[in-house]
């Protein structure tokens, strides 16, 4: 009875006017085209990089299994949090409202979107796990048949992960953070005591990674499959208890963000999800007896600390980025890949320290509020993220150097930090999409204006990735002097771009 009602609702919704018969065909066409033009060359380049001798050694080393376990465990912890923002049981806002306001059983109405999300996550996990093992097979380190258990295991792990994701969605912000912290603590324990790995799903996945000294292959895969089935059984209970109002609010936030992003306002889209201050209202952010530069520095520090989880995440991200940059100095052929990844991580983490810069950019578009010029306001708000970001990245790099990376890693981390921090300043003055970018650009493969808009939206991210890769590549090719020259060039270029952009606001 309930299923028949649900089918009728879905049939009516599917027949709505806004859908076109060719929509699905066009989506398939675009996906195929992107896969052919962008994804395939990128995958090929990645596999070529991973089949370099030092990369193969790293992938086949016993430590690779531990890294796999830690990454998988961390992904579970992150998914529990993601569930509070965007869970696997996700409908368009109106449909979420429609189906959760009825007396239809929740597990029934949410079963389909959950199944789709689970399938996508499982396939994605299998795909990601395939990259290193296929590289190992291409490099002759393992037989092709040995690829299957880790890929299948990752698929099963993806199912478990989807249920953790749903748990985060059901629990809501406070309890989901506790779940995430619990998982993170357990991952930390297994990192310190690897003997406990066989007791955890991420440990089973780690045991499936084809390292040179691997001894297990059968039972961890079976354990993951059993865990996946058990998780699916538990998902019925999770879906049945999903809070309807929260589902609708999540869907509304995503629709607002999607609307802002597609209309060329990524800053507004991201602000939809930025945490609001929860603690520290009694902390004095504005000291009235200090030089103005110190007032703004403290104001931005206290402001950032008022979203403590976000602040802690940013600190950890910057520490990891600093350590990764220093570690990249010891990879002779693939250091640039790690350099680019570290720069991107630093850029993302620094966002949590740069609220003042965003506020300064907003103030530009409004009647004069502060008694400072534009340049002065930006400079005052840049001081905290620049100094704190640099200091935290250097601490991370220092840890990596203490653990055996070359001391030049400190200089590389400082260089990458400087370019990333300037890119944040550059990104702070983005403003609305310039209409000229919407002009059609006819090419033999279609209108490329969409690509131009996309590049504009992620320009700072691209600059950061290129700068991070270039600094490390220069270090590999010409040592520290070359890296310094490239970093200085990148920093100067980004600074000029930032000045140009702020002047146009």
């Amino acid at each position: 009875m309930a299923e028949a009602r649900l089918r009728a609702v879905r049939a009516t919704y599917r027949a709505r006017g806004e859908r076109r018969a060719g929509d699905l065909g066009y989506a398939v066409y675009v996906a195929g085209f992107v896969a052919l033009v962008a994804a395939a060359p990128a995958a090929r380049a990645l596999l070529l990089a991973l089949t370099a001798p030092d990369a193969l050694r790293a992938l086949h080393a016993p430590q690779a299994a531990s890294v796999t376990g830690v990454v998988a465990g961390a992904a579970l912890a992150a998914l529990a949090i993601l569930g509070t923002v965007r869970g696997p049981a996700h409908y368009p806002a109106f449909v979420a409202f429609l189906v959760t306001e009825t007396d239809l059983p929740r597990h029934l109405v949410l079963r389909r979107p959950f199944a789709v999300s689970t399938a996508v996550l499982a396939a994605g996990a299998a795909l990601v796990s395939a990259v290193p093992v296929v590289a190992l097979a291409l490099g002759g380190q393992i037989a092709w048949a040995e690829c299957l258990p880790p890929i299948a295991g990752a698929g099963a792990f993806g199912v478990v992960a989807a249920v953790v994701w749903a748990a985060g969605q059901r629990l809501g912000r406070g309890r989901a953070w506790m779940l995430s912290a619990g998982i993170a603590a357990a991952v930390g324990v297994t990192g310190v005591a690897p003997a406990l790995l066989p007791a955890t799903p991420w440990g089973w996945l780690a045991l499936l990674h084809p390292t040179a000294d691997r001894t297990e292959s059968g039972w961890p895969l079976a354990a993951l499959c059993v865990a996946a089935v058990a998780a699916l059984v538990a998902s019925r209970w999770l879906l049945a208890g999903m809070p309807g109002r929260e589902l609708v609010q999540q869907a509304q936030r995503w629709e607002s963000a999607a609307s802002a992003a597609t209309s060329g306002d990524p800053a507004l889209a991201l602000s939809t999800f930025r945490a609001l201050p929860a603690v520290g209202r009694a902390w004095n952010a504005v000291a009235t007896r200090a030089p103005l530069a110190a007032v703004f520095w403290r104001r931005d520090l206290v402001g950032a600390a008022r979203t403590p989880v976000r602040f802690a995440g940013a600190t950890l991200g910057l520490l990891a980025a600093g350590a990764a940059t220093a570690a990249a100095a010891s990879l002779p052929e693939t250091g640039w890949v790690l350099g680019a990844a570290a720069a991107l991580l630093a850029f993302a983490a620094l966002g949590a320290l740069g609220d003042g810069l965003r506020h300064a950019a907003e103030a530009f578009g409004a009647p004069q509020l502060y008694g400072l010029s534009r340049v002065s306001l930006v400079a005052h708000h840049a001081a905290f993220p620049l100094s704190a970001g640099l200091a935290i990245m250097l601490v991370g790099a220092g840890v990596a150097v203490a653990l055996g990376s070359p001391a030049t890693g400190l200089g590389l981390a400082a260089s990458v930090a400087a370019t990333v921090l300037l890119a944040r300043v550059f990104d702070g003055a983005k403003g609305p999409l310039p209409p000229v970018l919407l002009a059609p650009i006819p090419t033999p493969v279609g209108d490329m204006s969409g690509a131009v808009v996309l590049v504009w939206q992620v320009d700072a991210v691209l600059l950061v990735a290129i700068a991070g890769a270039a600094v490390l590549a220069a270090f590999e090719g010409g040592g520290a002097p070359a890296a310094v020259v490239v970093a200085a060039g990148a920093a100067t270029s980004i600074l000029l771009l930032a000045v140009f952009r702020y002047r146009r606001l």
Partner: protein, 211 residues
Amino acid sequence: MLVQADDVSVAVGGITLLAPASVHARAGEVVAIRGGNGSGKTTLLRVIAGAVPATSGSVSVASAPVDQRDAAFRRRVASLIGLPPLARNLTLGEHLRLVGLSWGGSGGESYTRASELLASLDLAALASRFPHELSSGQTQLFALALTLVRPSEVVLLDEPEQRLDADRLALVRDRIRRAAAEGCAVVMATHSDWLAGEVAQRTVTLSPAHG
């Protein structure tokens, strides 16, 4: 004359946003701009604030052309035209103190001015709230406080009565009177007959801006 706008009009793409209008305001004077929806009240304030160029006519503040790039102009003119940018991680009290400091006020002055403004607008109990914790009426009052906390000679207010109950509207009236008593020229667009009657020495009524 602090504010002098003569036969100012604004047209964009052949559409008239503001039919020719004139406004004059002296130091210590409150001028109300009245007119129906779409008559160009906000546009006129934007012109005086230097945010929108006039298509015709002349505008000056303190006998100088309006120019947002001019630091002296920015120091003279404070305006509440739409919600000012709010920092989501600062409390109300901190907002006001920071803005005061940025205009060169001493620590003590900024603190005193912020506290006094919050008290006069019945926001003192909310001083440690974040902006997202305010109701729409409280947000409107706080926006007025942010506008008045900085030094200025000209205050431009666009419908300061929005979303306020009668008691709160009386607080706004008192603050506007006080700004004028301190020597500011206040130009205020309003739909409130009561507020205009209470504070304005003169009223300028805009004709509809059709086509």
